[in-house]
């Protein structure tokens, strides 16, 4: 909205008093490059554990920015700092030019959040949850009802508005939370693992809905996920692992870094096969879970050659077009989910026990 207002015209009075319209050159570019989120050398330690280790990035207004990484990589900690729940150990985070630590009231006004775990009051109805939010954010009395009804219609829950939230399914709750996060018209909407624990059908629907948000509500989206497929809807992605950003680019560019298609190959003797392929084709071959893999710019043409060369030792071959998972695999040498569960949970447990020992989080 405001971009248009800015670029249409500015009246300047000349000495004769005639208003002159001054058009700014390339107003869109001038105005649109304003990072709405800016993070500089952010570090967060919990005791000995470094959850976020010197990360920096910027998010452009009106885009979808994805924070991608395994559980425990530091995604939620970063969100918690950005939404003023945690203070950084060092470095700083700015939203709309306001420092998240020192100017938290201004930051809080301009953000909406959908946390990983539901933060709805299950003993209140959908409508009451939204009214609660509207009062907390001091939404104008005349607009309150209208905005809530619009939000409920937007997420398709208007008919269920007077039902207690505890009767809602996981997908309905998540949708209600997104609706709630938009009621006060935030500039940035944070979505922390928005599809966690939802069935595939609901996930797909929710994505369709999220992707439409920036245009419909003039909002910038900052989301985290550990589902690689989901991150593909983002305009830009930061891949984070062990508290560090290891890549930051558009999904297309990230996929290009993998260097083409990936060929997975099972053989009767992986060690020999690996050496042979490396020798014959001058490519690097790696092994993961008993499967060899290599990248090739023209995978479909490469497969017959490999099979001809390796003969009967090949047990199975599959070709994969690059995905973000491959990007992650290439950058860290491990699958995003294999790492996930165990170590992520320990970190969560560590943070939790740290908070228990040192008071609130």
């Amino acid at each position: 909205m405001h971009i248009i207002v800015n670029c249409v015209s500015k009246y300047h009075l000349c000495n004769r008093g005639i208003p002159v319209v001054i058009f700014h050159p390339r107003p869109f570019l001038v105005n649109s490059y304003m990072p709405i989120i800016r993070v500089e050398h952010l570090v967060k330690r919990f005791g000995n554990l470094t959850a976020v280790n010197d990360i920096s990035f910027e998010v452009e207004e009106g885009t979808i920015f994805g924070f991608l990484g395994p559980n425990g990589a530091g995604k939620t900690t970063t969100i918690n700092i950005l939404c003023t729940l945690l203070s950084p150990t060092s470095g700083r985070a700015l939203i709309y030019g306001h420092d998240c630590t020192t100017k938290s009231p201004e930051v809080r006004k301009s953000i909406g959040i959908v946390f990983q775990d539901s933060t709805l009051d299950k003993d209140l109805t959908a409508y009451e949850n939204l009214i609660f939010h509207a009062y907390l954010y001091n939404v104008n009395k005349n607009e309150r009802k209208q905005r809530i009804e619009d939000a409920l219609r937007f997420v398709d829950l208007y008919d269920r508005r007077n039902d207690l939230v505890k009767k809602f399914s996981g997908g309905m709750k998540r949708r209600l939370e997104v609706a709630r996060g938009l009621i006060h018209r935030p500039k940035v909407l944070f979505l922390d693992e928005p599809t966690l624990g939802l069935d595939p059908q609901t996930r797909a629907n929710l994505w369709e809905f999220i992707v439409a948000l920036p245009k419909k509500h003039q909002v910038t989206i900052f989301m985290t996920t550990h589902y690689m497929e989901e991150a593909e809807v983002c305009d830009r992605i930061a891949i984070i692992d062990k508290g560090k950003i290891i890549a930051l680019d558009t999904p297309e560019n990230l996929k290009k870094t993998v260097g083409g298609d990936v060929i997975y190959l099972r053989t009767t003797d992986n060690l020999t096969a690996r050496q042979e392929i490396e020798k014959l084709f001058h490519v690097e071959v790696s092994e993961q879970d008993g499967e060899l893999f290599l990248t090739s710019l023209k995978g479909d043409a490469c497969i017959p050659e490999i099979i001809r060369a390796m003969g009967e030792t090949v047990v199975s071959v599959r070709l994969q077009r690059p995905t973000l998972n491959d990007v992650f695999l290439k950058m860290t040498g491990k699958e995003i989910r294999a790492e996930g569960v165990s170590s992520g949970d320990t970190i969560k447990e560590e943070v939790r026990s740290y908070r228990r020992r040192f008071g609130r989080g």
Binding site: S87, F115, L124, I131
Partner: protein, 259 residues
């Protein structure tokens, strides 16, 4: 610094939930009734007015004597429970929604404290209405006085509850709070026996317990000038007001602190 809209909606939420959960009201009222009639009734047989528990010649039975204490108990339990529901909110997430809202931490504390106050005063008023069944005579002014004291005491205990709640992250700590804070506060308050009768060490503990002064003020309101109370009324009220302010400030600061 203090946002009326936020305080209003925090109170409205608690109130709505309180009205909705009839079983909660029944169970919180059951406790004081059991104490009043079963414990008080039984003990009345043991403790006759002449036996020194209550100063001789005052003409009040043990059951009447503990009435202010039971009123206080109603408040103590419901105000503490209401406040430590913050721990519940922390564990089930709603607290995060409140904490990321553009609302001062002081407003959150006040909203929570006032929620606890209103709910406790409603319950205390129900118990107070039992006075005719205990053979106690109360004028309109005494009833109003008692209700004002109930309000002050509720606010004080509710804000103490918030301070306690900021130290805990999960509801596992619930029994710790019950056994090490709530029960001692109740027994070391003169609710069940006059403070003067306790051994010196316990008397000292009684005196640093703000709850004691609430009970004492209620004794003033209910028995008038019959000498059942231990401290002057202005002192009781002073302690309640000062500790309330202190608890609210501490709670506000603890809420403000971020890890």
């Amino acid at each position: 610094m203090v946002e009326g809209n936020a305080i209003y909606v925090l109170v409205a939420r608690e109130f709505k939930k309180f009205i909705r959960e009839k079983s909660r009201l029944v169970s919180t009222l059951a406790r004081p009734l059991i104490w009043l009639f079963l414990v008080g009734g039984g003990m009345s047989r043991l403790v006759s007015p002449g036996m020194g528990i209550v100063s001789p010649g005052m003409g009040i039975s043990y059951m009447q004597f503990i009435f202010p204490g039971i009123l206080g108990m109603t408040i103590l339990f419901s105000a503490i429970f209401s406040s430590i529901s913050i721990i519940w909110d922390k564990e089930f997430g709603l607290m995060k929604e409140i904490l990321v809202a553009p609302v001062s931490r002081l407003s959150i504390v006040l909203g929570k404290a006032l929620s606890g106050t209103i709910i406790s005063v409603i319950q205390a008023a129900i118990i107070l209405a039992l006075f005719p069944f205990l053979g106690i005579k109360l004028g309109v002014l005494s009833i109003i006085e008692a209700l004002v004291i109930c309000t002050l005491l509720s606010f004080c205990i509710a804000s103490l509850g918030i301070v306690i709640a900021t130290f805990y992250e999960s509801f596992e700590s619930f029994s710790v709070i019950m056994n090490f804070i709530v029960m001692p506060m109740f027994f070391l308050s003169g609710a069940m026996y006059p403070v003067k009768m306790l051994p010196p060490i316990l008397q000292l503990l009684t005196r640093i317990n703000p709850f004691t002064y609430g009970i004492d003020a209620l004794k003033h309101a209910i028995f008038g000038a019959e000498g059942v109370f231990d401290f002057p009324l202005f002192m009781d009220l002073g302690v309640l007001v000062v500790t309330s302010v202190v608890f609210v400030i501490i709670a506000g600061l603890l809420f403000e602190k971020r890890k």
